[in-house]
Structures are given as C-alpha cells and as structure tokens.
C-alpha cells in the first residue's frame, strides 16, 4: 500500500501529511510533483493544505489546470481513494470532483484553532474506524472554508449520506454545518479540518489518526 502527497508550488501542508503517513501511520508515502502525469502506483492520494498556486482569484482555481489533476481525476474514476484536506478540498470542488464551493468564512477572517466534529457517517472508506455520533477534535486553519451549494445539491448530499463530518460549533458559516463530504461513489473525501495535524502525540491530540487508520483499513480490506 502506498500513499502519494501532491505538491503544488505553494502547498504547505504537504510535509505534515507526509510525516503523518510515514512516521505516525508507518505506511509508504511519496511526494508527487504537480506536473506528474502518472500516479497509478498509489492507492491513496492526499491533496494537502496550503495555497496551491497562491490561491489568487479563488482558492484552488488554478490548481485544476495542473497535469496531476488530470491524473487524479482518472484515479478517482477508478474508485481509488482521494482525500483533499483544506486547500485540497477547495481544489476538489474547483475541479468538479466534489459538488459545491468553499467561500470566505462568514466572519471574513482567517480562523485557526481546534474544531469539534460530529461523525455523521461511519460507513465510508475514511471513517470506518469511527463510531457515528462520535466527536473528533481536529485543527482547522482556513480563510475560505464556508461550504455553499444549491439546495438540490444539499438535498442530494443528505439523501446519499455524503455529509460525513459536521461542525459542532460552526464558525465559518458552512451550510448544514458541513466540515467534510464524500462524492457519490464514496471514494473521494474533501474536508476543511486537518487530520494530519492531529496524529503526533507531542502535539497533544491524536484524533486525526482515525481518518488515516480508516483509509488504511479500507485499503487493506481490499474493498
């Protein structure tokens, strides 16, 4: 099993994701440069946080043009796992791999802190090690994490149980308190909070591990 962490020119949580997988989860992981076209060897792709191409105009807007995103689309179509964290979530929506959009936090400020998340669906490749209704404490750090979508889209997300994580205390203004959603097939997750920042015990919080443990269990189970 091997993970790949995509590196855009101004990714900056690439290193955090890399160390979380390698040192904390003990799995194989490589960095993948944004101009890479071949990513077949990876089972799980992590699109990390940061500011991709500066995030000018809109977060994640330019990243959808990169060569590697073509490969990520193909990877996702094959049903393989993709997790987009923070900027990664923004990129996935801009690239059309997840519905909706992320706009500026309702208080118009960057928010850094720790969010309490509700686990809404534990029957996914990313949450199978969690129990429904469980609370996760996961760091957040974003200026544009306010999830918006048209009513029909929201309805569909609810009906299909695609809303996986919600905020207990919704600070950014997301519709339906959405913190993380999966695509219809359930193999692509986008979430604003940073599970990779909550893996190392020295940092005082290891709640994020369960997300990666779920992915690893899913991949091992070969489902």
């Amino acid at each position: 099993m091997k993970f790949g962490v995509i590196v855009f020119p101004a990714s900056n949580c690439d290193l955090d994701s890399y160390y979380a997988i390698k040192d904390m989860m003990g799995e194989k992981v490589d960095y993948i440069w944004h101009e890479e076209e071949k990513i077949e060897e990876y089972d799980g792709i992590i699109i990390p946080g940061g500011f991709s191409y500066g995030d000018y105009l809109r977060c994640g807007a330019v990243a959808q043009f990169s060569k590697v995103m073509e490969a990520v689309k193909a990877h996702a179509e094959k049903g393989k796992l993709v997790i987009g964290i923070c900027n990664g979530f923004q990129i996935l929506t801009e690239a059309g791999l997840l519905p909706g959009a992320l706009v500026r936090n309702k208080n118009l400020k960057f928010i850094c802190g720790t969010a309490q998340l509700n686990v809404e669906n534990n029957d996914t490749a990313f949450t199978n090690k969690l129990t429904e209704g469980e609370t996760l404490r996961i760091p957040v750090a974003h200026g544009e994490g306010n999830y918006v979508a048209q009513d029909e889209v929201l309805q569909k997300l609810k009906n299909n149980r695609q809303i996986v994580l919600t905020y207990r205390d919704n600070k950014n203004g997301s519709m339906e308190d959405i913190a993380g959603i999966v695509n219809e097939q359930g193999n692509v997750l986008g979430m604003m909070p940073h599970p990779e920042r909550a893996c190392d015990p020295i940092l005082g919080n290891t709640d994020g591990r369960k997300i990666f443990e779920s992915m690893i269990a899913y991949l091992k189970g070969g489902r």
């Binding site: 020119p9 101004a10 900056n12 940061g50 500011f51 850094c112 750090a141 200026g143 990779e196």
Partner: protein, 574 residues
C-alpha cells in the same frame, strides 16, 4: 535645495562623497550614496554603540553582520533568527506594510540557507478605544501578517501587542523569523571568486519603494512622479517559490553567495556582497527584468520591489541555476560578474553609468556619528513623584475586572487565531503561553521563542527597562522549560539627532548589553528603527527583545495552565 539634500545627505556627507570618488558624483552615483548612507542602511547613528553588545558565546556560529544570526543547538543543527521593523510602511498602508515586513524578514532567514520554521511579531499602536484609525491600523496589520505568513506555510507562533498614546501617529510593526539549518549548509552573502556570474531571480523590478525622502532627481518628469510609488505590495506566492527554489539551489554546490534585495534594493545587495567578497562587482542594468519599460537607471538601482534575490554562482553552473529555478516557475538572469578591483560598476550595455569604490558605499565608507545625549526632563520628574498619595481602589473586584478588560491585558486570542500557528506540525506550545515551543524534527530537541518589551518602563528608565525586557524574555523561556540562548533586538526609537532621544537609545543599548552579558544570551542580530515620531511626540523607547532558548528534550516542556485540582501553588522569588 541641492540634490544631495533632497537625497537626505548633509553638506559634509556630500563633501565626503566627492573626496572618496576624487570627483563630483553623477546623479545615479549620488542616489546610490543617498540610499546607502541613509540611517536605515548605514546605521550611522547607532553603529558606534554596537561594540557594547556581547556577540560571542559558545553557541554563536554567526553574530551580527550577516542577513541573520545563527546559534548552535547541537546534533549538527543550528537556529537562525532576526527581527526587522516595518513601521513607516505600515503606518501608510497597514496590510501591505505588515505583509511586506514579514516577507522581508523571511528572506533574510532563507538567504542564510535556513528553512524558516516560525514567525513572531511585536506590535504597538495608539489607544484602541474610540479610535477608528487605530482599529483600522490594527486590523490591517494583523490581516497583512496573517495573509503573508499563512500563505508561506510558516507558523506565526508568538508576539506581543501593546497600546499606548505615544504610538498614536507612529505604530510599530516588528517581525521576527526563525529558521533551522544544518551546520554545513550555512551560506553567507558574499561575492567570492573573480569572474563568477551574478544572477537575479524572483519578481521583476518595478517602481515600488522608489520614493520617500531618499529619492529625487531633476531628470524625472512629472509623469514618472505619478507612476512611482512608495507602497510595496507583497506577493507571498512568489516568495514561496523563491524560498523553495533558493533552498534547493543551496543544496547544490552552484551557489557561492546569496543575498535578498531589501532596503535600497539592488544597490545595497551588490554593494554588500561585493565588499564581503572579492571587493568588486560589475552589473549591467539592461539585463534586469523590469515591470515597466520606461524605467530610469536610478529607479532600477534603488527600487525596493519585493521578492527578489541575488545569487553569486560558481562559473559554469548557470544552467543548474536555470534548471532549478525553472522548476519552480521562476526565471533567472545573469546580470553581472564578480571582480577584484574594488570598484562597483553599473553599466547599461556598454555604457558605464556609475563607477565607485564599493567599500565607500558600505559601512566602512559611510559616516558614523556619536550624537550628544541628555537625560529627558520627564525622568527626573518621575523619579521625584510621590506615590504615597495614590488611593487604594475601593472595589477590588471591579478593579480586577477592569484590568482584565483593558486592551493591554485582555487575551490576544482574536489576533493569534487569525495566524496559522500549527502548520508544519511542530508547534508544541501554541500562542497563549509564556513562550512558544517548536520541536526540531529529527532530534529530541525543541526551541522556545518569545518577544518582549515593556516600553512604559523603558520610558521611565531606558536602561533598567531594557534590562527588564531581557529578563522578562528569559523568564518566559524558562517557564516553558528552555534554557535562554541568544537574542535578536529590534530597537525602535525617536530621532537620534535629538539629545533626549539619543540618550534613550544609548541607555537602552547599555542596559541590553549588561543584561545579555549577565544571562549569557549574546546579541546575534537585530535592527534599528529611528525617527519614530510625529510633530507631536516621539514614541516611548521600545527595544524589543526576541529571544530563543533550547530544550534538550522537547517532551519536557511546560505550559502555564493549572493542570489538576489539588495541585499546590507556590510563588518563587522575592
């Protein structure tokens, strides 16, 4: 007014230029002297006092004199740090002023070859209550720091924010950056190796920062007057590319020297690298990438456009540079070469536009003053003040609540929660404690960081206040479980040409020196910002102490919160 006066030079200084050159300078040359001999670049009013600072110690690998100071923390690892002010730009345009301040200090750190791992900032504003202006400045500065630092992926882990009337017209924005480096990777800003090419990477050169007191030229038309701008706009994306490209370049053996383009732009960068290296340099400004086509050579040479670096490259390795820089989407350009004739030559193609002894521009040529000083009147008055007449508060509960509500005491969480303080997953103690702690990956160690200065005490007694600032910083580090190791100092004062202000500066330097010697925390880098005053008043003397300490075992850090019911509370000290 004479041209030299418009450029901020005094008559004696102009005469000195003529003497050093052996002729009258031309306009470009005079402009270059003007910026290099400005207070900001030459430290002409402060240099004479630096000899008091303790600058050596068993940990010190690089003291003052380079882009940043460096200390050894063991395990072949070292820590680079420096503080820098961006006060006046932030007063004009708070967002961009603060953002470019952060950008500048980050470049100083990676120019040493170090990976920036933490940012801190020390802010001073006028009274917050009932002042829309102060609120606007504060919001803008905090957003600027957040906008730039967050995008760079460098956690902002600490700082301080104080409000006091003396900063009303002249806020202070000091930014500090800390980097980590392996011993053998340390790079210096020197142009070694005759014939080595000098290369330029990063943003193209515009008219940014061409303005202010040090710029004037009769040749420039009114139209260009309008085009020039003192406001620099930060581009953190470009800086991130520069950072990654520079660190990757410094991992090869292609780079002999590296210098960021900061104050006084190209002029300062070529001059400093030349004098620290073989002594001379020859640059062709027709090769400088420009944002606008009709720029005057003076504008090109003194522009302070952000996000640019100068590289001295081993001859024949230009392609290595092009390849790595290209990978990060940047362009590189050879703009000149290293010489050993001691001359700084600026050409436009074949035509020589300026030709002067490189050293004459730098601190060895620049004037050095030791101004008169005199104790401020208010100090005597306050010493005689009778404190016994101050009544006890009637309602202690209410007073307590009022104190907690005062902006200077109230929690600053709303500020530091706008900064990403967790990125790089190494922030072991987050903002909100006495000092921040960062673990050093690959070792068991950690470093603790803090900035401190109570300027009210420095106003009452600059020498004692400065000692207290050092002591407070040290206590903060100790409270986090670290052993204090070194400081970087951000010295913010009024005009050194006024005896009372120079007294404050001098006393502060002496106080800092004494305390640093006592605590064995040498001064490894710093910055001086003078003329922080308006026609009404000068700021309180504000010598900001940025201190780093070392934790041999980062797991043994300590935070300030009460841990469990029943724990005993003790008071140490007098």
């Amino acid at each position: 007014m004479n041209l030299y006066e418009e450029l901020g030079l005094k008559k004696e200084e102009y005469e000195r230029v003529v003497e050093l050159l052996g002729r009258e300078p031309n306009e470009l040359e005079l402009n270059m002297y003007g910026v290099m001999w400005s207070e900001h670049c030459s430290y002409k009013h402060s240099r004479a006092l630096f000899k008091h600072f303790p600058t050596t110690g068993k940990r010190v690998l690089q003291g003052p004199g380079e882009n940043a100071g460096i200390i050894d923390i063991g395990d072949n690892m070292a820590v680079a740090m420096k503080i820098e002010s961006h006060n006046h730009p932030s007063a004009v345009e708070p967002y961009q002023g603060a953002a470019t301040g952060v950008g500048g200090i980050i470049r100083d750190i990676f120019a040493m070859g170090a990976r920036p791992v933490a940012l801190l900032n020390s802010l001073r504003f006028g009274e917050l209550e009932n002042s829309e202006r102060v609120q606007y400045l504060l919001d803008g500065v905090v957003e600027g720091i957040s906008g730039y630092g967050n995008c760079m992926g460098i956690p902002t882990v600490g700082g301080e924010t104080f409000f006091n009337k003396s900063y009303e017209g002249n806020p202070l924005v000091n930014a500090m950056c800390v980097g980590v480096i392996e011993h053998d990777k340390i790079h210096r800003a020197s142009a070694k190796g005759v014939g080595n090419p000098v290369m330029y990477i990063g943003a193209s050169t515009g008219r940014d920062g061409v303005g202010g007191a040090s710029f004037a030229s009769v040749e420039l038309t009114e139209e260009s007057e309008e085009k020039r701008s003192a406001v620099q706009v930060g581009d953190p994306f470009m800086e991130k590319l520069l950072l990654e490209a520079s660190l990757e370049l410094l991992d090869t053996d292609a780079i002999v020297g590296i210098q960021d383009l900061g104050a006084a732009g190209l002029t300062s960068a070529v001059c400093e690298t030349a004098t620290r290296g073989e002594g001379g340099m020859d640059v062709d400004i027709s090769r400088i990438p420009r944002r606008e086509s009709d720029m005057h050579p003076i504008e090109v040479m003194i522009s302070e456009s952000q996000e640019r670096m100068l590289l001295i490259v081993r001859k024949g390795q230009e392609e290595t540079v092009n390849r790595i820089v290209g990978k990060w989407g940047l362009h590189s350009k050879v703009i000149g070469k290293v010489t050993d004739d001691g001359r700084l030559r600026v050409r436009d193609g074949e035509e020589v536009l300026a030709d002067m002894p490189a050293e004459s521009l730098d601190s060895s040529g620049a004037p050095k003053y030791y101004k008169d000083y005199q104790e401020p009147k208010h100090m005597k008055e306050s010493r005689c003040e009778d404190l016994t007449g101050i009544p006890q508060p009637k309602d202690l509960n209410q007073t307590f609540m009022e104190l907690l509500r005062a902006p200077n005491i109230a929690s600053k969480e709303w500020i530091y929660n706008q900064y990403d303080h967790m990125v790089r997953t190494s922030t072991v103690i987050k903002p909100g404690s006495d000092a921040a702690v960062i673990r050093i990956r690959g070792t068991e160690k950690g470093i603790a960081l803090t900035t401190d200065c109570n300027s009210r005490l420095c106003y009452l007694n600059p020498r004692e206040g400065s000692k207290i600032a050092v002591a407070e910083a040290a206590r903060n580090l100790v409270a986090a479980g670290a052993k204090p190791a070194a400081i970087t100092d951000g010295l913010n004062f009024g005009s050194p040409e006024k005896p009372e202000r120079f007294y404050e500066f001098r006393e502060s330097v002496l106080g800092l020196s004494e305390a640093c010697r006592e605590l064995d925390t040498p001064v490894i880098s710093g910055n001086v910002s003078f003329y922080n005053e308006t026609d009404k008043a000068a700021i309180y003397p504000t010598p900001i102490v940025g201190m780093v300490g070392v934790l041999e075992d980062v797991r043994k850090h300590m935070t300030l919160d009460f841990k469990e019911e029943g724990n005993v509370i003790m008071l140490l000290g007098e």
